[in-house]
C-alpha cells in the first residue's frame, strides 16, 4: 500500500490509530511562490500523541509545509485544520491563541542572538504567558534547562554555543510553553551522529514526559528510526507513501527505498 501514489485511496494513519483524535488535518494543500508550485496537493493527518516523521529530499517543500501549519506562510488551496479550525481563516488574535498550543523548532534553532540563554527562555514566559513572579520564572527556566541537560549554559550567549547546544536550547525555549503539538524542522541536520542520536532520544523522552504530538521533518534515517511512530514520504510537494519504519523499509518503490539504503 505504501507505493500507491493516488492519495485519495490511502489511509493516512496506521490501522490502530483510526479511532484516535486528529489534531492536524491537511487535505489537498497547495502553495506556490509566483509560478513555482511547491506544495502540490499534500494530504496528511496527525493523530494525538504520535510522532509523525515527514521524509523528503531537500527543496521538496517540507519547511514550507510546516510553516503553513504554523501560520507563517499563506496557502492557496486546500484544507489545513489544527484542532478543527482552519488556520487561514483565523484572525490575528485567534491565531496567536492557536499558536500557543504549537511549538516550532527551527532548523537553525533561531535563538535570539542578542539575549543570553536565560533571557531566551524568559522571553516566552513573560511575553506569552505573562508571568511576573521572578521565582516562578527562575524555577521554570531551571527545570527546563535541566530537562535538556544544559543547566550550566544559562548565562551564555547563543554565539558561544555549539550546534547541538543551540538545538537543545531552542527545544527548551519552545517546550517551556508546554505546547501540545511540536513541529520540528530538521532537528538533527548539521549535527554529528552522536549528537544527532542524543537529540533524537531527547525528543522522544520529552514527548513522553509532556505528552506531545509531533511532526518531525527530516532526511536523517537514524533520527526517523528513533523518533517515528509513523513515517510519511513526500516528493514534489505531495504525499507518496506512508507507514511504519518497518513497513517502508520493505518498500519496492525506488524513491522510498533510497532513504533506507
Amino acid at each position: 500500500m505504501e507505493t500507491i501514489t493516488d492519495h485519495t485511496t490511502i489511509t493516512t494513519g496506521p490501522a490502530n490509530t483510526n479511532d484516535r483524535e486528529v489534531v492536524i488535518e491537511i487535505k489537498e494543500l497547495h502553495k506556490s511562490f509566483g509560478d513555482h508550485e511547491v506544495l502540490t496537493g499534500i494530504t496528511m493527518d496527525l493523530y494525538k500523541g504520535e510522532n509523525l516523521v515527514v521524509l523528503g529530499r531537500s527543496g521538496q517543500g517540507k519547511s514550507v509545509l510546516i510553516k503553513c501549519i504554523a501560520g507563517l506562510l499563506d496557502y492557496h488551496e486546500g484544507i489545513l485544520k489544527v484542532y478543527g479550525s482552519e488556520i487561514k481563516e483565523l484572525k490575528e488574535e485567534e491565531l496567536r491563541k492557536a499558536r500557543m498550543k504549537l511549538g516550532f523548532l527551527f532548523q537553525s534553532g533561531a535563538l535570539y542572538d542578542s539575549m543570553t540563554v536565560r533571557e531566551n527562555l524568559e522571553f516566552p514566559l513573560t511575553r506569552v504567558l505573562g508571568l511576573t513572579d521572578k521565582n516562578e520564572i527562575d524555577e521554570r527556566i531551571n527545570e527546563m534547562l535541566d530537562s535538556v541537560g544544559l543547566l550550566d549554559a544559562i548565562d551564555k550567549m547563543p554565539s558561544d554555543l555549539s550546534g547541538g547546544m543551540r538545538k537543545r536550547i531552542g527545544l527548551a525555549r519552545t517546550l517551556i510553553l508546554k505546547p501540545e503539538i511540536m513541529l520540528y524542522d530538521e532537528p538533527t541536520t548539521g549535527l554529528d551522529p552522536i549528537t544527532s542520536k542524543e537529540i533524537s532520544e531527547l525528543m522522544v523522552q520529552l514527548q513522553k514526559k509532556y505528552k506531545i504530538s509531533s511532526v518531525i521533518i527530516t532526511h536523517d534515517m537514524d533520527c526517523a528510526k528513533i523518533t517515528a511512530d509513523r513515517i510519511l514520504v513526500m516528493n514534489n510537494g505531495k504525499y507518496i507513501a506512508g507507514g511504519t519504519y518497518e513497513i517502508l523499509e520493505q518498500s519496492s518503490n525506488a524513491l522510498v527505498n533510497s532513504f533506507f539504503k
Binding site: K67, A70, G71, L72, R96, K97, R99, M100, L102, G103, F104, F106, Q107, S108, A110, L111, Y112, D113, F123, P124, R127, V128, R173, T174, L177
Partner: protein
C-alpha cells in the same frame, strides 16, 4: 509595453499597500497593552547616546566651516555684524536638522535594517511569531518610537554645538565675546524659525525608524538580503528626509505668510 507598464504599476501599488499595512500594524501595536518600556529605553540609549559623538562633531564642524566660508562674502558687503545671526538662522532652520537626519539615515536606518533583516533571515522573527509573542510590538514599535524621539534631541545638540563652532570660527579672525556672539545669534531667532524646524525633525526620525524597520522586517531569504535590506533602508530613508524637508519648507512658508 503597456502590459509591462501595468504590471510595474501593480507592483508599485502592492509595495505601497504593504507599507500602509505595516504602518497600520505599527499604530495598532503601539497602543496595545504590554508596551515594551525597557526595550524602548534600551533602544533610545543605543540610537541616541551612541550617535551622540558623531552628531556632536558634525554639528560643531558645520557651524565652524559655515562661519569661515561666509565671512569673506559678508565682509565684502560690510555686513560681518550679521554673521552670528546668519549662521544661527541657517543652521537651526535648515542645515542642522537635515544633516543630522541624513547622518542618522546612514547610521541608524542601516543598522536597524541589518539587525531586523538578520533576525528575519535566521528565523528569529518567525520564532517570536509562532511562540505567540508579538515581534512588531517588541522590535518595531520600540525602534520607530526611539528614532522619533531621539532624532529631535540629537538635532538640538547639533544646533548648540553648531553655534559653538560658529563662535570658534569667528574668533579665528575677530575677537567677539561669547556673550555678544550668543546674544546676537539667539536674538536673530524667533519661534517661527525654531518651532517648525523642531517639529519636522520628529517626522525625519519617524521616517528613519519606519524605513529601517520596514526594510529589515520584510527582507528576503538568504544572507545577501540582509545587506540589501540595510542598503535600501539608507537610500529610502535619505530620500524620505529630503522629500519631507521640501514639504516642511513649503508648509512653513505657506503658514508663515497667512
Amino acid at each position: 509595453m503597456p502590459a509591462k507598464f501595468i504590471s510595474f504599476l501593480k507592483d508599485q501599488g502592492e509595495k505601497v499597500g504593504d507599507q500602509v499595512h505595516f504602518l497600520g500594524s505599527f499604530f495598532r501595536n503601539t497602543f496595545k497593552k504590554g508596551f515594551e518600556w525597557n526595550e524602548l529605553i534600551r533602544e533610545c540609549y543605543l540610537i541616541g547616546y551612541k550617535s551622540l559623538p558623531l552628531v556632536a562633531i558634525t554639528g560643531f564642524i558645520l557651524g565652524f566651516v559655515f562661519t569661515l566660508q561666509s565671512e569673506p562674502t559678508l565682509k565684502a558687503f560690510g555686513a560681518e555684524n550679521y554673521l552670528p545671526a546668519m549662521v544661527s538662522v541657517s543652521l537651526i532652520r535648515e542645515i542642522a536638522p537635515v544633516i543630522v537626519a541624513l547622518i542618522c539615515a546612514g547610521k541608524i536606518a542601516s543598522s536597524i535594517g541589518a539587525e531586523l533583516g538578520s533576525m528575519k533571515v535566521t528565523e528569529q522573527i518567525d520564532a517570536m511569531e509562532v511562540s505567540g509573542s508579538n515581534p512588531i510590538q517588541y522590535l518595531v514599535v520600540t525602534r520607530i518610537l526611539a528614532c522619533t524621539f531621539m532624532i529631535p534631541l540629537l538635532t538640538i545638540i547639533a544646533d548648540a554645538l553648531g553655534l559653538l563652532g560658529g563662535f570658534t570660527g569667528i574668533n579665528i579672525s575677530n575677537k567677539v565675546s561669547a556673550v555678544l556672539y550668543f546674544n546676537k545669534a539667539i536674538a536673530a531667532l524667533d519661534f517661527t524659525d525654531f518651532i517648525p524646524a523642531f517639529i519636522k525633525t520628529f517626522f525625519f526620525g519617524f521616517a528613519i525608524g519606519f524605513v529601517g524597520c520596514y526594510k529589515g522586517y520584510n527582507s528576503g531569504r538568504g544572507t545577501a538580503s540582509v545587506g540589501m535590506a540595510a542598503n535600501s533602508a539608507v537610500v529610502n530613508a535619505s530620500l524620505w528626509v529630503i522629500v519631507l524637508d521640501a514639504v516642511a519648507v513649503q508648509l512653513t512658508s505657506v503658514l508663515a505668510y497667512h
